[in-house]
């Protein structure tokens, strides 16, 4: 086959010109957004695409700010949670960071170490409102004694229970973990479980066991201990006698919510995220929320995100204004019920909702990883889930599973 001489050359020239034009267009596009005299603030988050319930709530919040501040254009961009940190690191290496990154609170230290986010101490001092935050929330913004973010919101875990099932079995919401084991066993009838907790592979599935270890008065960084042994032994026994399902090892929190919504379990430990999902998905389901069982103490793992200004922000002042506006009590009072989350601040009214009030009460006893653990939380949690998996599936005894996990945790904390 031969290409016709002239027409081929013309086509090739056009093609080359097209490539050049596209190249110029790309270059100019970068500045065009800030043209019209207004400001642009880019915001990256992992809450969900704009058409999801959680993503839409954030979009509505952003639009409210834009309405109150003509001339400011906030550009939110959703990046899935699993890709978020990686994308942020790659963008930092490529010099293409957003102004604001809404990061997982437990990743704050890692992002500081990577040099992705800015120190905010001077701004916080001038703002003068840091005392309004829950101490646990505020601690997640601190790295090496300096402040690197503002808590955006908070989440707590509590016990959801099916009131019909509990009434029928004559069971009260459990107040201690022994009562929990007993109640769950009693409620597990007819192919149903008593209690569902997420135990999926990775750090996500460690939350339930962490809450149980904390209740026993244990230390999350020291699981080769009597307290962690007590916690894991109880979980294993609950699976062995059918109070919990072995399937928990494959369930994330969404799956656990589905088990509860479909009445496959009488109780679940889950975050406030699912309150309105349950109400809209299953309006006929009768359920309530109780505080976590209490032994030595009653601590929830804090679920939280921090607003941070990145090292590559072109307009940190505008970004800071957006961040502080988002923490105004009247803004939060509207946004948080919409987003199904809890305030990270003490000065936001709880409202009339009984369920949210329970979560807000539970949030007062929240635990966050600190010190060395804060920098390696993801890896340590992964090893704790590993111990849960090994013991529950029966591939190792409780003691061996914890000893092996401890060896890996020690290595993670040393490295």
């Amino acid at each position: 086959m031969r290409f016709g001489g002239r027409s081929f050359r013309r086509a090739a020239a056009l093609l080359a010109a097209g490539v050049l034009v596209a190249g110029c267009g790309g270059g100019a596009g970068g500045d065009a957004s800030t043209a019209e005299g207004g400001k642009t603030v880019s915001l990256w988050h992992y809450y969900g695409p704009p058409d999801s319930a959680t993503g839409a709530a954030l979009v509505r919040l952003v639009e409210r700010y834009e309405k109150e501040h003509p001339g400011v254009d906030i550009q939110p961009r959703h990046i899935p949670f699993g890709d978020f940190t990686r994308t942020l690191l790659q963008s930092a290496a490529g010099g293409d960071l957003p102004d604001i990154a809404l990061i997982n609170a437990f990743h704050t230290e890692a992002m500081v170490e990577a040099g992705v986010i800015q120190e905010l101490d001077d701004r916080v001092a001038a703002w003068g409102k840091k005392d309004g935050f829950f101490p646990a929330s505020w601690r997640t913004t601190q790295v090496g004694g300096k402040t690197y973010g503002l808590p955006h919101l908070a989440d707590a875990y509590a016990v959801y229970y099916n009131t019909k099932m509990l009434d029928k079995a004559g069971v009260e919401p459990p107040r201690t973990w022994d009562e929990m084991a007993e109640a769950a066993k009693k409620l597990a009838t007819g192919g149903r479980q008593g209690l569902a907790v997420s135990g999926i592979e990775g750090d996500e599935g460690a939350t339930g066991l962490i809450i149980r270890i904390l209740a026993a008065g244990g230390d999350v960084a020291d699981v080769d201990s009597p307290e962690a042994n007590e916690a894991l032994t109880q979980f294993k026994e609950m699976v062995d006698d059918g109070a919990m399902s072995k399937g928990m090892l494959g369930w994330n929190e969404e799956d656990v919510k589905n088990q509860f919504a479909n009445e496959q379990t009488a109780m679940m430990i889950n975050s406030a995220t699912y309150v309105s999902t349950l109400r809209t998905e299953k309006p006929d389901l009768e359920w309530k929320v109780a505080l976590l069982p209490e032994d030595e103490q009653r601590l929830t793992l804090l679920g939280a995100e921090n607003l941070t200004i990145t090292a590559g922000s072109r307009d940190p002042d505008a970004a800071w204004d957006v961040m502080t506006w988002m923490q105004r009590p009247e803004v939060l009072a509207e946004y948080l019920p919409d987003r199904n989350k809890l305030p990270a601040r003490l000065d936001v009214p709880a409202g009339q909702d009984e369920t949210r009030a329970v979560f807000q009460e539970q949030l007062k006893s929240a635990w966050v990883p600190e010190g060395k653990l804060a920098g390696a939380a993801g890896e340590v949690f992964t090893h704790i889930q590993g111990a849960l998996q090994a013991a529950v599936s029966g591939s190792a005894s409780v003691a061996d599973a914890l000893t092996q996990a401890q060896q890996k945790i020690d290595k993670a904390l040393a490295g």
Binding site: A92, E113, S245
Partner: protein, 312 residues
């Protein structure tokens, strides 16, 4: 593959390659875009990864660049870790079993579909769907089917009376590995089938006729004609299956995330966790480089064998 086969045939037929001609300089300009494309999308990332594997790269260095040169320390650290050796072993078990089964099933389907029967083309296309289906879809379907409480597989087995209580396939180490192998075989077997079918159709029908006249049975025809004639295609298919399976990430990550524990943590998942979950980019890069070496060695071996066969 067709190129390789084409070359083989040319050599067998005794056609010598054309004598070299002087190539005008401008001709190189025409290949320049392709060269630049390959350099930017393949060679650069590869070189970057290999460079990373010789440096001490943590969070700070991955963003700001730099990182001290540490020679082979990352490799020594990785090779010395039980987690790495475990991942390598799981990778090899997973790959060898998946390739073996996918090849076996693919060959069986190819031989079957090589006959003429009504609805053959429809069936061939239907089988290919498994290979064309995006992994996100197929892996999640497998996950749901294998779920312990509401999964279809348990319902079916329970209905047949084979099990009396829910089996949590993806939660037990051995069944989880079996499940991801099954899912991989389901995807890869049609791929093997289509390549082997192409090979089968190249075998002259006269050979079978002659054998039949000589009184050879179906089994004898398969072992004495089909298999020897398919040999070069078999090797290509096995190599392609091995390389594709060895670097699989999505199927397993979506189905088990490498769990339960580390029962299905193959090398790609191990390397991903190292780099993006635990932020040890240097050792993660070392793991991926080792991961690269194994299929590379196999390819070299394969091309050697191919050349030897050509010369013989």
């Amino acid at each position: 593959m067709t190129l390789l086969l084409g070359k083989r045939r040319a050599v067998v037929a005794g056609v010598s390659p054309r004598p070299r001609r002087r190539v005008p300089l401008s001709a190189y300009l025409f290949v320049l875009p392709a060269v630049l494309f390959v350099a930017a999308t393949v060679l650069y990332p590869l070189a970057y990864n290999i460079d990373l594997s010789f440096r001490d790269v943590g969070l700070r260095e991955i963003v700001a660049g730099g990182g001290d040169f540490v020679g082979l320390r990352n490799y020594a650290a990785e090779l010395g870790r039980p987690e790495f050796r475990h991942a390598l072993a799981v990778s090899l078990i997973y790959t060898v079993l998946s390739v073996g089964l996918a090849f076996g099933c693919g060959l069986a389907m190819a031989v079957f579909l090589n006959r003429r029967f009504p609805g053959r083309n429809l069936m061939r296309s239907a089988l290919l769907v498994a290979w064309v289906l995006p992994t996100v879809v197929s892996a999640n379907i497998w996950r749901w089917m294998l779920d312990g409480t509401y999964g279809l597989v348990n319902t079916a087995l329970g209905g047949l009376g084979l099990i009396d209580r829910g089996v949590f396939w993806l939660v037990e180490p051995v069944t989880a590995l079996a499940a991801v192998i099954l899912a991989t075989v389901w995807t890869m077997a049609p791929f093997a089938m289509i390549l082997l079918l192409a090979g089968l159709q190249n075998i002259p029908a006269t050979l079978y006729e002659a054998a039949r006249i000589d009184g050879a049975g179906a089994l004898r025809r398969f072992t004495s004609i089909t298999m020897p004639m398919l040999r070069p295609v078999n090797m290509t298919v096995l190599l392609l299956l091995f390389v594709t399976t060895f670097k699989t990430f999505d199927t397993i990550y979506l189905m088990t995330r490498g769990g339960p524990g580390d029962a299905t943590t193959i090398l790609p998942i191990h390397a991903y966790l190292e780099a993006f979950q635990f932020f040890r980019f240097g050792t993660g890069a070392a793991a991926t480089t080792v991961m690269l070496l194994i299929p590379l060695l196999l390819s070299v071996f394969y091309f050697r064998a191919l050349r030897k066969e050509d010369l013989a």
